[in-house]
Amino acid sequence: MTDRHASRRDLLRAGLATGGLLVAGAAGAGPQKGNPANQPPNVPDWTRNLGEGVAVRSYGKPSEFEKDIIRRDVEWLTASRESSVSFTPLHALDGPITPNGLCFERHHSGIAEVDPADYRLILHGLVDKPLIFTLDDIKRMPRVNRPYFCECAANSGMEWRGSQLNGCQYTHGMVHCVMYTGVPLKTLLDEAGIKAKAKWLLLEGGDSAAMTRSLPLAKALDDVLIAYRMNGEMLYPENGYPVRAVIPGWEANMWVKWLRRIEVGDQPWHHREETSKYTDLLENGKARRFTYVMDPKSVITSPSPQAPLNHKSGFTVLSGLAWSGRGKIGRVDVSLDGGRNWRTARLDGPVWDKALTRFYYEFDWDGRELLLQSRAMDETGYVQPSKAELRKVRGVNSIYHNNGIQTWQLHTNGEVENVEIS
C-alpha cells in the first residue's frame, strides 16, 4: 500500500514536471503531446488508484496543471510592489465573471490586513448626525447583488505610443468583473441625513496611503455600493476586505478599498489621485480632470499572444470581452483584416449593465496570417475608436483612458503578437 502510494506520487511528480514543460512550451504553439502511458489503450494511474478524500483540500484551488494562470506584474513599471499593480490573466478565462483570486490588484501602500472586529466606517461632514458603523451594522442593512466591471483608468496605458506588451493580461488585464453584495451608499447617507449644501463626498481608505477620492453626490445617490462580498465570498484582502466602495462604470481608483471614512462636503478635495494622477494630459499641455466614466472597450482574449492557436487551420472560436461604463454593451464587431471589414460577433451569457460581456466569433480559418480586432458599441451608441482616432483627439501623453481598438497578428503557425497597424 505504502509502496503503491509512493510510486503514485513519483509518477504524479514526473507527470507534473512534464506538464510544466509542456505549458511553458505552449507559447510556441502546437498541441500538447502529453504522456502516451496515460492515453488509450493504456489505463492511467488516476483511474487505477484512489484519489484524495474530501476536505483534504479544505479550500479548493485550480488543478496543478493550471498553476501558470496567475496574476502577474511587470517589474519595470513601478518602484515597489507595495505601490504597484498585478494583472488579471484574461487570456486564460472565459465567461463574464472573474474568479476572486485572479482579480487584478492595485495598491498604493500595500494590502491593509483589517481585523473585521476592529473595522469601523465613519460618515460625517455635512450631515444631520455623524455616524459610525461596524461591519455587523453594515451587514444588517438591506443589501443588493450587482455584477460590475472594475477597470483601472491606466488599463492599456502602456500602449499609448505603440505596442509594448505581448499579452492581453498586460495590455488589458487591469479589469475584472465580479458579483458584488453590498448596501447602496444612499442607505447610509439617508441614515445620517445629508444637509442641503452637500454636493461632494470624500471616500477614504484605511490602508497606509489612506487613499482618497472625491465623489459627486449625485453618483453616490444613484448606484454606488458599499460592498463587502465578491462572488458570494467576503472581499479578499487585496480587494479591500472587509468593505470597499463600488462605483459602477467609473475608474477603479475611485472604488476605495478598506473604506474607513466618508466625509460629506460642498466641493471636491482635489487630492493627489485626482490632480497629480488620474487626470488626462492632452497634446496642448492642458489636462482633463474628473474623467470618471470608462468608455466602451473590448479585447480579443483568445487567440492572443499568451493564448496561441494550437491548430493550423479549420474551425476556430475567437473569444473576447467587451464593457462600457456608460451602460450595456449593444454589439461587438470583429475584423480579421485589420479593420477593413467587420462581422458582428455573438454575445453570449448575460449582458449586464456596466459589466464584462463575453463575445464569440466562430469562423473557418484558412491558415493564413490575420490581423484580429474587436470593436465594442454600447447602448448609448458610442463606438470604440481606433487607436489612430483616439490619438488624434488626445495625443499620446494621457496615460489614462486608452480604449482604442487592439490589434493582434495571428501567424500561420498559430502564434499571436501585439502589433500596431496603419
Partner: protein, 234 residues
C-alpha cells in the same frame, strides 16, 4: 414574513387559503412600501467628536482641514533629506521610478512631459494633504503638524514657488500659496469634444482602403515578462 409566504405557497391549492394568500401578498406589499419610504433603519451609532478627529485628516484647497502648525523652508530641509530624499531625490528629481517632485516646467505640451508639483499640480493643499495621509512611505501619519508645514514649505522651495529659506508656512498663510498650472485643468468634456465617437451606423465593409500594414511590434521592444515565471518573492 418569509414563514407566512412559505405557508401560502404550500397550501395555496385550497381556495380558502388562496384568499389568505392574497392577504399575505398585501402584507408584503405594505412592508415593501414602508421599506421604500425614508424611514431610518436606526443602525449604527452617533460618532463622537473625538473619534472623528482621530481620522479626519483631509485638507482642501480652500483651507478646510488645515491643522494648526507652522514650519520654515530651513526647518524642512533636514527633515526632507532624512525622510524623503531617498525616494524623491535630494532636489525632488526622483530616484529610480519614485515620483518626481520638482522640475519639468514648460514640458507639458512636449513629447516627454514631466508632471511635478511645480509643473503640473494645481493646488498646494494636495501636497500637505498627501504627506499627512501617506508619507513617509511605510511610516505614514507619523509626522507632527509643524513637520508637515516645514516639509511642504521645502517642497515648495524646491519648485521655486517660495524663494526664501526663511519662508514660514502655516495654517494662517497657506491659502496665499498658488501653483502656476491650476488654470490648465478643465472638467471632463468627452461627451462634447469626442462626440464623433457616437455613431449610429459604424462602417462594416471596405472601411479603410488598401491592406493593413504592420507598423510596430511589441516584441521589438521586448519588455514583456517571460511566460511561465511567477512574481519574485522578496
Amino acid at each position: 414574513m418569509s414563514k407566512s409566504r412559505e405557508t401560502c405557497r404550500g397550501l395555496s391549492f385550497l381556495p380558502l387559503l388562496a384568499a389568505a394568500c392574497l392577504i399575505c401578498l398585501a402584507c408584503v406589499a405594505a412592508f415593501g412600501a414602508a421599506f421604500a419610504s425614508e424611514k431610518k433603519l436606526d443602525i449604527g451609532r452617533e460618532a463622537t467628536a473625538e473619534e472623528i478627529a482621530g481620522w479626519d485628516i483631509d485638507i482642501r484647497p480652500d483651507g478646510h482641514g488645515l491643522p494648526v502648525g507652522r514650519g520654515t523652508v530651513k526647518q524642512g530641509e533636514p527633515l526632507y533629506v532624512e525622510r524623503c530624499a531617498a525616494c524623491h531625490g535630494e532636489f525632488g528629481e526622483s530616484a529610480g521610478r519614485w515620483p518626481i517632485l520638482s522640475g519639468g516646467n514648460g514640458t507639458l505640451a512636449s513629447h516627454d512631459p514631466v508632471k511635478s508639483v511645480g509643473s503640473y499640480w494645481p493646488y498646494a493643499s494636495t501636497i500637505i494633504d498627501y504627506i499627512r495621509r501617506a508619507m513617509p512611505f511605510g511610516a505614514s501619519q507619523t509626522l507632527t503638524n509643524d513637520e508637515l508645514y516645514a516639509i511642504t514649505a521645502y517642497v515648495l522651495f524646491l519648485n521655486d514657488i517660495v524663494t526664501s529659506e526663511d519662508f514660514e508656512l502655516s495654517d494662517k498663510n497657506f491659502r496665499t500659496i498658488k501653483l502656476p498650472n491650476e488654470p490648465n485643468f478643465f472638467d471632463d468634456d468627452r461627451e462634447v469634444a469626442e462626440k464623433a465617437f457616437w455613431r449610429t451606423d459604424p462602417c462594416m465593409s471596405n472601411c479603410i482602403s488598401g491592406d493593413a500594414v504592420v507598423t510596430g511590434r511589441a516584441k521589438v521592444i521586448d519588455v514583456t515578462p517571460d511566460p511561465g515565471t511567477g512574481p519574485k518573492v522578496e
